[in-house]
Structure formats: C-alpha cells, structure tokens
C-alpha cells in the first residue's frame, strides 16, 4: 500500500516536471582557474538579461574539454573554460564529433610562490626554483638526485631555512602550468639540459617535469584557502598558487620575486612576470542560436566593463589582455570565427 502511494507520487513528481524539454540555460564546464571569472560573468549576465543564469561546472580543463567535444546537442555543454590552449588531440575529437570550436582568450593568470608575512622575503630565479624542486638536478655537469636541503645550499644569498614547498597536486592545471613555465624555464638555464632539449625532447621533459619526492615538495590538495592557512602557520614554508589568492590575501602572505620581478597585477599584465599563462574559453558554434543567450554571454564576457584593466573581472583577479588584443579577440569572438589549429608543435 505504502509502496503504491509512493510510486504514484514519484510518477506524478517526474511527470509534472516534463523530463524531455529543451534546455533553457547555457551550460559551461571546465577549468577551476577560470571558474571564478566564468561564474562572475554568468551571474551578471543572469541579472542583466532576460536569460537564465548559466550553470557553470568546475571539472578541470581536461575533463571539461572532453565533455565539450563529445558532441552536438543539448545534452552536451555549450562552452568549455580552459587554463591552457586546447590540444591538437582534443581539437581532433571535437572535429570528428561535428563540433566547430570558437576560441576566446580572456586574459592571464600568474602563478605565484608565496610565504607568510612573518617569513623571509624571497627573491628567486627560475633556475633556483628548478634546483629546489626537481627530482634530479645537474651538479658539476652530472645529473644527480637533488642534494639541496636548505635554500642556502642552492645559493648563499637565499635564507638558511629548509626547502618546504606546498603546491597543487598533479591533477591540477596550476601544477601543469607551473611545471611547464617555471621548472622548464629553470631547466633550460643549464647548458647541458638545454642541449638535451634539442636532441631528446622526451628525456628533457622527464627531467624538467619530475618533482622531487623527498618531502621538500608537499602536494597540498586543490583547496588553496587551506594552503594560505598552512602558510600562516608555518612561516618557513612556501606555497604555489594562482594570483587571485595572493590578491585576496595580501595582508597575510607575500609573493616571491621571480627573476627579479614581483608578482603584481601590473607586472603580469605587462608580461614581465615569467610564470604566467593564458586563460581561454571555447564556444560550440553549432549551439549559438539554438541554446538561448550564448551570443549575449560572449558579448558580456568580452565587454570592456567586464574584462578591461578596471573591469569587474580584474577585481576577481583576472589579469587582462592588452587593449589591442582585447579588441581583436572581442571582434573574433563576436563574429564566431572558427578556431584553426595548425599544429601543436610551435616554434
């Protein structure tokens, strides 16, 4: 009896809701780094226009592009956020599934090394970062397991404290970018590794990308707020995270200079700070005009009041493109020019 009532009630609930009706809101997936910016735009867009607020999922860049490229139709997301450029392989998948990709570059994100306010001021070079964190480093012309215990062991100008770096786990896009920019950049300052990168790219990548596993580097989970707390509790530790967390917590942590450049908004925007990456979102052209509001969402994201130096996204920590780039990207995005990916192997 009870079961019967419950069954009827369930059917009524589902029936009344109409499962098979067209999607009314934009669906966005992808990078957790772009998530705060995409949600900010989505919310303003929802408040400003007659469209529903888009649903934004934080799936990570790779996971997002996988969902995005899976096909055309309302079951698949309309937009994918990415904290790196789409890969050739992902682009091929998209193409094979009939997806035309429109790329929109939205700005930059700096990756900062920061420590507690009470800790020492750090001024590092990429070379020193590589020496502190790589599993194998060149010492006197030979690759050996990383012998450095204290920062001072690397360079006498650095403080005599234990190397203890808290960073994102391997699944994180921040980690990928850090390894590619800072570690590779540091590795290339060694003549022997530079030579290797020309002759055997794979071997070089392995050396440059492998982080030491002897507790000097501690994978600290994806929650960057927790990382900030840990740094406050341990002034000797250094953390690696996205610029927006430094921007929001400037009163408790401070960023290390890298190659003599401080991680400030201006320096990253000007391209002076070395460890920064571009952020993107990708639009499925087939869905524009089918799912309501996509063109307006693109227009909102690429409007000056959103993404210029004083726009509301910069208050959330997005580092804007130059005025010129903004103009050309906005024009390309609004005309929905499809992305042409010539080849991943760049210069």
């Amino acid at each position: 009896m009870l079961a019967k009532i419950a069954g009827v009630a369930f059917l009524a609930l589902v029936g009344a809701s109409g499962v098979a009706e067209a999607r009314e809101q934009i669906r966005i997936v992808g990078s957790s780094t772009v998530f705060p910016f995409a949600t900010t735009v989505a919310e303003r867009f929802g408040r400003k226009t007659r469209f529903k607020t888009p649903v934004v999922e934080s799936t990570g860049t790779g996971g997002g592009l996988k969902l995005f490229c899976a096909g055309v139709g309302e079951r698949y997301p309309d937009i994918a956020n990415a904290s790196r450029r789409i890969k050739q392989s992902e682009f091929e998948t998209c193409k094979n599934n009939g997806v035309t990709v429109v790329e929109v570059k939205i700005g930059f994100d700096g990756i900062v090394l920061a420590n507690a306010k009470s800790g020492p001021d750090l001024a590092l070079t990429m070379r020193q970062i590589f020496q502190a964190l790589a599993k194998q480093v060149p010492v006197a012309g030979k690759l050996v397991d990383n012998p450095y215990k204290q920062w001072r062991d690397i360079d006498p100008s650095l403080p005599a404290i234990k190397i203890e770096v808290l960073g994102p786990p391997p699944t994180s896009g921040t980690r990928d970018a850090f390894v590619e920019l800072a570690m590779e950049g540091g590795a290339k300052t060694f003549e022997m590794l530079r030579a290797l990168s020309k002759t055997d790219k794979a071997a070089f990548t392995k050396i440059a990308h492998t982080i030491r596993e002897d507790n000097a580097f501690i994978p600290a989970g994806e929650n960057e707020n927790l990382l900030v707390k840990k740094l406050q509790g341990n002034p000797d530790a250094v953390g690696i995270f996205g610029f927006s967390f430094l921007d929001n917590n400037g009163d408790v942590i401070k960023g290390a200079r890298v190659d003599g450049v401080a991680p400030t908004f201006e320096n990253i925007a000007a391209g002076d700070y070395g460890v920064s990456r571009s952020l993107f979102f990708y639009v499925k052209k087939e869905h524009v005009g089918v799912i309501p509001g996509i063109a307006d969402y693109i227009a909102e994201f690429t409007s000056e009041q959103a993404w210029d130096e004083e726009g509301y996204l910069s208050e959330k920590g997005l580092i804007p493109l130059s005025a010129e780039d903004r103009k050309s990207v906005a024009a390309g995005a609004r005309s929905l020019a499809p992305l042409v990916l010539v080849s991943e192997q760049g210069p």
Binding site: L13, Q25, T40, K117, E224, N225, N248, D251
Partner: protein
Amino acid sequence: MSKWAAPTGVSLADCAQARLRGRYRAERRFRYCGIAAICLALGMLGVLFATILAQGLPVLTQTQIGLDVAFAPGILDPDGTGEAETLARADYRKLARNALRTVIPEASGRRDKRALAKMLSIGAEEELRDAVLADPTLVGQTKRIWLTAGADFDALNKGTIARTGAESDRRLSDKQIAWFDALDANGQVRRAFNSRFFTAGDSREPELAGVLGAVVGTLYALAITLLLAFPLGVMAAVYLEEFAPKNRWTGIVEVNINNLAAVPSIVFGLLGLAVFLNFFGLPRSAPLVGGMVLALMTLPTIIIAARASLKAVPPSIREAALGIGASPMQTVTHHVLPLAMPGILTGTIIGMARALGETAPLLMIGMVAFIADIPSRVTDPASVLPVQVFLWADAPERAFAERTAAAILVLLTVLVAMNLSAVILRKKFERRW
C-alpha cells in the same frame, strides 16, 4: 590450589579483602577510562562546533549603508510616463552612485570614484529598483534607504580584515576606510539581519550569496531518494525475510547486498553518469538524477536495516496470525510489517542522513556547479548543501569563509532534525517483547 593458599601469618579473610579492593580499583580505572574517552570525544565535538559557530554566526548580520537617495525623475522616468516597465529598466546604478557622491563629495577622479563605488554591493541596484517598484510615489522624493554594503566593507565593519599594515597589502585603502568611518560616525552604517542568506541562491559576490538554492536542491534530491529507496528497500527486505526460500541463490543475493552497502559512493556516481545520463538521457545537474543516484546508494542500508527489524518481530506473532487463518501476505502486511516499521524508519533515516552529506557521487552527474537560480522543478539544475559548502570553501574571496561555516551550520541543522525525528519515531512506536 596452592595459588589460593594464604601466606603464613595472614588470615584468609585479609587476603580476600586485598584482592577484592584490587578488583574494585580495576573496575574504577576501567570506568574512568570510559569517561575519559567520552569526554575527549565530546571535547573535540565542542571545539569543532565552537569554531564553526564563531566563524559562521557573523553571517547572520549584514552591514548596510544608509543613503539619502534622491529618486530623480530625470534618471528614473525622463518622459514622466509613470509606467512600471520604464521604472524597472531605469539606471539604478547611477542613482546609487549619485547618492554616495553626495555624502562623500571629496571622491573625485576616476580611481576614487571606483574605490567609492565598491562601498555598495552590486545588489544595491536591485534593492533600489525593488523599492521604487513597490512604491512608485518615491520618484521625485529624497529618502533614506538602507543598502547592502560591499563584502570588503562588511568585513571591515565586522573587524575580520586588517585596518593597519602596508596599504598595498590591504583589501581597502586608507581613503576607503576613512570614508567608511565618516559614514559610521554619522550613523549611516548599521548591521541588520541577513535575510538574504536564507532567501537567495548562490552568488559570486559573498554579500549576495544564499543557501536557499542548495536547501531546495537537497530537499528535492532527498525526496526522490526516499520515494525510490524506501518502497524498493522494504519490498526487497520483506521478500527476502518472509517469503524467499533459503537456498544458494538467496545466499548470493544477501552477500551482494552487504557488499553493495560498502561500495564507495563515487562508484554510484559513475553508474549514474553511465546509466541515467548517457543511456536514458536525463538532464545533467538535476536533483532528479541526484536523488536516483543517492537512492541506489541508500538502498542496501535500508534493506539491511529492514531485514534486521523484520527478524526482530517474534515468530509467535506470525504463528498466531497464520493460526487463525490469515494468508502469509495478510500476516506480513497486517502484523509483521507494522511491528517492524519503527526499526525500518530508523534505518531509513540513518541511510538518508548519509545521503544528505554526499558530494562525491554528485560530482559525476554535474551537481557540483555554480547554480544561481533557485530550482523550481526536480529537473532544474540544482546543487545540494554539502556541494555548496565545498564550492564556497574553495572560493578565493575571504568573506566566503564565514559563509562556508554558516552553510555547515544549516547542513548540521537539517541533519540533527532528521536524526531527532528518527529518535522520536522509535520512542513513539517501539514495542518490546
């Protein structure tokens, strides 16, 4: 026997007394250990609660700034039509900024104006619009309206962000703090009950974010879970316990149900993704699918609890019913099931409480997402409370930390209410034999 022999010179009674005292001491030590364990557990719980409360309670109030807003007809309704449509689309941002600039005229320059504008939340525009729409006679008047302050100024008022230290490291400049203090001294700053936290959906601006969307999503998902898992679970348990023959097949089924109860919840999420979303094509992020996944997860718990309470009904009840001519089905539905119901309900609520705290299976079906609109149907996108906690804990804005704690408090309240109802149901209907 020699073990019990008294040493020479000591009477047997003394020896027994000494041993008795030893046993009493051991007994007391054992009890103290138990009490210490409980005190430790309670102490930890107390610390946890105290920190969450201390962090979460400031959310109950929200800083507001009282401004004498001039509802200029030139901005609101230039043509003097008085239509609601025109009023709804007027530039309320300008209205709010003008009001701010009248109190703080020294903010000139583009930079200063921007710094000043941060004093009000972006929600202030909507508050002004709502005020005008509710009372169109405001047009042309000047009236003091209390508007929601920006998150940084709210934190400043509550004392959770720094006022001192190098200016470049702070969220607010000396100028902004001076402006705010001037307003405060003028009686134009107050802290009011933050009803928005309970009536709004998620937002990217901490001062506008609320839990209602997540609470509604949770209720929808749990309703679906209950509607699916409870009847299925009880029917399965009744059949297995009362009707099924005891053979190898029922043995295998039984073992598998026990195994299912121990399967990590993310596996159910993957199953939901493969079956409900990809095969049946149900919508992503919907509480309908969330409820179905959670029902799969809760089902084994309910079956096990239901079987245990069916087993606890004495056989004499069944024999008596069968003896006076009831059919086996009548025996079960009229006698055994009603008597087992309190136990089944308790088990169900415990299973539901576990489902309430789950985020992992929901990740796979897209419920871990930023969803600002409050769901009105089970197929609308929605998040649930634990997901909301997870998302806010990850947000870079400092003011989300206190919202995280407050959302945890809401979650705990729902949880306590559910467990309390389990206890009450059990006390009310429990029968002892």
